[in-house]
């Protein structure tokens, strides 16, 4: 994980880890990191003027589709993104300046089991886009789909988002 950050971020920068079905917000110079995005989707919101950012790691599209919604709003795209918005605003971000980036939504498994279709990644991405559109937040970059897991890093000092994928170079989106 650290190698992802080290490539472009000064050492000694405080790092905040965002777990699965979790969210964190921060101000410059904090970097926010989430690991193991498979079919999950990571969404960042960033205000480039106030240098405030947030990252949420959602697992599923809509809370209502899963009646056993374990009361963790960050688990779902349709509840997690509004929650993240609320928190970056509370930290002092300006809503009109916010930009979103997203990564993840992969289809991880290869094989031929028709009973076990993993289109959940795709649905996570669709719902996340829709939620952002309804909130009036522009998605400025995406790295979604495919069949590999990702690690996602947001640098609040610059708004840069770095993606590390198995077997590929670190890339910025």
């Amino acid at each position: 994980m650290q190698e992802v950050a080290k490539a472009v971020i000064p050492s000694g920068t405080p790092e905040v880890q965002v777990g699965i079905a979790d969210w964190k917000v921060g101000k410059e110079p904090v970097i926010l990191i989430t690991l193991g995005l498979g079919s999950c989707v990571g969404i960042t919101l960033y205000d480039p003027v106030h240098k405030i950012g947030g990252l949420v790691h959602v697992m599923l599209p809509r809370m209502a589709d899963f009646s056993k919604g374990s009361g963790k709003p960050a688990k779902f795209a349709d509840t997690g993104i509004p929650l993240l918005l609320e928190e970056v605003l509370r930290l002092g971000a300006n809503r009109r300046l916010l930009e979103a980036k997203m990564a993840g939504g992969a289809q991880m498994f290869t094989g031929a089991d028709n009973k076990f279709r993993f289109d959940i990644g795709e649905r996570n991405v669709e719902v996340a886009r829709e939620v952002l559109r309804n909130l009036g937040i522009k998605v400025v970059a995406e790295d979604v789909g495919g069949n590999r897991g990702r690690t996602m890093v947001l640098d609040t000092a610059t708004g840069r988002v770095m993606i590390k994928t198995l077997g590929s170079q670190i890339k910025e989106i």
């Binding site: 699965i20 498979g38 079919s39 999950c40 599923l60 991880m108 094989g111 089991d113 076990f116």
Partner: protein, 202 residues
Amino acid sequence: MNDDVVDILQEVGNIGIGNAATALAEFLNAKVNVTVPRASLVPVEEVFDHIGGVEEIVAAVLLRVEGDLSGTVLFVFSEGSVLKLISQLLGQPIGSLEEIGGMGESVLMEVGNILTGSFLNAISMMSNLTIIPAVPLFTFDMLGSIISSSLLGTGMMEDQVLLIETKLAQEGDEVTGNLLFFFDVGTLNSLLNSLQVQLESL
């Protein structure tokens, strides 16, 4: 967990690994030594503490099971174990999982299948519940991505996972793998009840 449950699960592990050893020896055409596996129920969120870090690269065989007992079964091999298995079986060492290729993938799936099937049969036998496995799927990637993606097959599962930690040794090379059984909501109790009933009737 009460002691009875621990004992029953341990017994499931023992019978499963016994079956697996025989089947693997046949498949690998070599003697396979097994150690007693550790079987336990662990909370979903503690899975990583048992089997490795979120970013650790692993190979996994995944299958959905239906029947009296339904859920998602994942068999996870560490990268080191996979490299050992592949070089033994195909006689050509590979440097990393990314070089695994179609043949290596098939071999690994077969080993994962044998192990998974052996444990599922043991569970079925001990509980008298029918378990129907579907076709296995394969992936290698970060453990965190694999686990979080596997859990989403249903989106509805119990908070406890059955974890069976296995060690196989072949000609001194140790191969470790972990079986994870994510139960669909409502099925874990029926399993535990059935196991208890079977135990009491012995």
